[in-house]
């Protein structure tokens, strides 16, 4: 575990040595600021439903940008060889990289807590903190899944551009497509059931204040599956 943390810390510090972290954070705060406007208008209930739901869409694009280099760069520069010939396991490496990216997500979210403060100070009624809290938990859960998908894509290639495009594609398939389908298409009931399993819908529950065991299990499980696949890709260099 100490070794995973060493890797996570190195990766995390690395984010702030390139402009990427700053660009992503700025883009995220700018976009969520606009989204918060809707929650912050007079006459609105004192909640953050709108901004919390929008955040998921932003993360579809922003998380892959953060995760694209995590492993692809190791392949490209050859540092994977020094890394894997140190006494660390493939799993420790994957967990370390995952934690670094999760840390970045937390850093992105912390400034948005100011919205909560604004609501408490300026909203006419006292804001209901429950759904806000569960909404943040939901963001972290969705974020974890996105990170594990991004990490998986990063492990399959030495080209960061390929990694970022691939993961945005996969994440869009899991979120945007079912959302649009549910909104605009006339779906057969069987298909509707599938669409209802989609990420955005499960996330919507969190934003409403519902933390269900089913949803938590869904996110933990899917995250674990992609992390597991990433470990397998790392191991695959030994199968050749």
């Amino acid at each position: 575990m100490n070794r995973s943390i060493a890797i996570a810390r190195r990766e995390f510090a690395g984010y702030f040595r390139s402009p990427i972290a700053y660009i992503v954070i700025a883009a995220f705060l700018l976009a969520s600021g606009f989204a918060f406007q809707k929650d912050f208008e007079p006459g609105q209930a004192a909640s953050m439903r709108s901004v919390l739901e929008w955040m998921v869409w932003f993360l579809v694009v922003l998380i892959p940008v953060l995760s694209m280099g995590l492993l692809a760069q190791e392949w490209a520069t050859g540092t994977i060889e020094t890394l894997m010939t140190a006494p660390v396991s493939d799993t420790q490496v994957v967990i370390g990289k995952f934690l670094a990216n999760l840390g970045m997500l937390v850093v992105m979210l912390i400034p948005t807590l100011i919205y909560v403060l604004l609501l408490i100070v300026f909203a006419s009624g006292r804001p209901d903190l429950g759904p806000i809290f569960s909404g943040y938990i939901g963001i972290l859960m969705v974020g974890s899944l996105f990170i594990s998908v991004g990490l998986f894509c990063s492990s399959t290639t030495r080209d960061q551009i390929v990694a970022v495009v691939l993961s945005i594609l996969i994440l869009a398939l899991a979120t945007v497509v079912p959302y649009l389908a549910a909104q605009y298409a006339n779906l057969r009931p069987s298909l509707r059931t599938v669409v209802d399993q989609a990420v955005y819908r499960r996330y919507g529950d969190f934003a409403k204040g519902v933390v269900s065991a089913g949803n938590v299990t869904f996110f933990v499980l899917t995250t674990a599956i992609f992390l597991f696949l990433t470990v397998k890709v790392l191991e695959s260099r030994r199968w050749k």
């Binding site: 100490n2 890394l83 660390v88």
Partner: protein, 324 residues
């Protein structure tokens, strides 16, 4: 310290490394020598547990590379080809990171970093960003990393490539100093490198070991294959019999038996001396005394350098042949 037996790596039909066996004793420094693509890096990658062998095995510091990979990696320092490093990190920060990966606590890291930084002449560069260092400095950082946890075994893949001549000499001296404390296996495609630093050399070509031993052993092995060529005008059979009786001559062979008709009657005799004796004087005198006009007496020395050049050339040839 390092014991390799029948190590093999096959990629489909191609054997990158083919039943390689050798031993490196404690405190020895051994050169792994061969042309590019001979399988040097692949062998080192198997020894460092980066890739598994197809068959065969090896132990490092008594640990099996397949079943005890963690202990193996803990007991070796590895400098891969081209020294891959995290360019955005600073030297000291990188060494701390590498120490953490090996489970060293803060105090251990501090004292060992102090040592390796001094050992590898990195004192003025501790706070420098690795990506902005020259190739030679990066090599030193890589070596400092390999030494960090005071490993029993050092495995260095082409440690002097890209260094300028002064740095090469510094590097050699450092390796010699280190060889007492650490067992070192280094790969190179430069014979002089091995002559300057190594106790023993292992020649590898197309994944197979073609010769190994101390440099003196290898040299005297080659000298036994030297021969003296004599060109004189005389009857082939008589020349052969006469020269065979000269003291110190082991065997005589006439290279162009029926040449006396074409080449103005000159024959060429190849003489193998006994025990690397120099028989040229005796042979020349005998030829003159027999009244045969003498055109040339020449020692055809078989040196380690020639052997190595042949080795490199034959790999290049076979690669061309394989591609055709």
């Amino acid at each position: 310290m390092i014991s390799v037996s029948q190590l093999t790596k096959a990629y489909g039909q191609v054997h990158a490394v083919d039943h390689v066996s050798f031993e490196v004793g404690k405190g020895q420094i051994v050169g792994f020598l061969g042309p590019n693509g001979a399988g040097k890096s692949t062998t080192l990658r198997m020894l460092t547990c980066y890739i598994p062998p197809t068959s065969g095995g090896a132990t490092i510091n008594g640990f099996d590379i397949f079943h005890q990979s963690d202990q193996v990696r803990q007991s070796l320092g590895y400098l891969p080809e081209n020294t891959p490093l995290y360019g955005e990190m600073r030297v000291e920060e990188y060494l701390h990171f590498r120490g953490q990966l090996r489970g060293m606590n803060r105090a251990e890291r501090m004292s060992r970093i102090e040592y390796v930084v001094e050992r590898c002449w990195l004192g003025d560069f501790r706070r420098r960003v690795i990506g902005r260092l020259s190739k030679g400095m990066r090599q030193r950082v890589g070596l400092a990393d390999a030494l960090l946890h005071n490993p029993a075994v050092l495995i260095l893949d082409e440690p002097t490539v890209g260094l300028d001549p002064t740095q090469v000499i510094e590097q050699r001296n450092l390796l010699k100093e280190l060889s007492g404390k650490h067992t070192i296996l280094l790969s190179t495609h430069i014979l002089r490198e091995v002559e300057a630093t190594c106790d023993r050399a292992i020649f590898i070509r197309q994944g197979r070991i073609v010769a190994q031993g101390t440099l003196d052993e290898l040299r005297s092995g080659r000298r036994a294959q030297s021969r003296v060529l004599v060109e004189c005008r005389g009857p082939a059979e008589l020349v052969k019999n006469t020269l065979s009786r000269v003291a110190g001559v082991a065997r005589v062979e006439i290279l162009n038996g029926d040449a006396h008709k074409t080449d103005e009657g000159y024959v060429t005799a190849a003489i193998r001396p006994q025990e690397s004796r120099d028989v040229r004087e005796e042979v020349a005198r005998t030829v003159i005394q027999s009244g045969w006009p003498l055109r040339e007496v020449r020692l055809e020395a078989a040196s380690l350098e020639e052997f190595f050049v042949e080795l490199m050339a034959s790999q290049a040839m076979s690669r061309v042949g394989g591609a055709a």
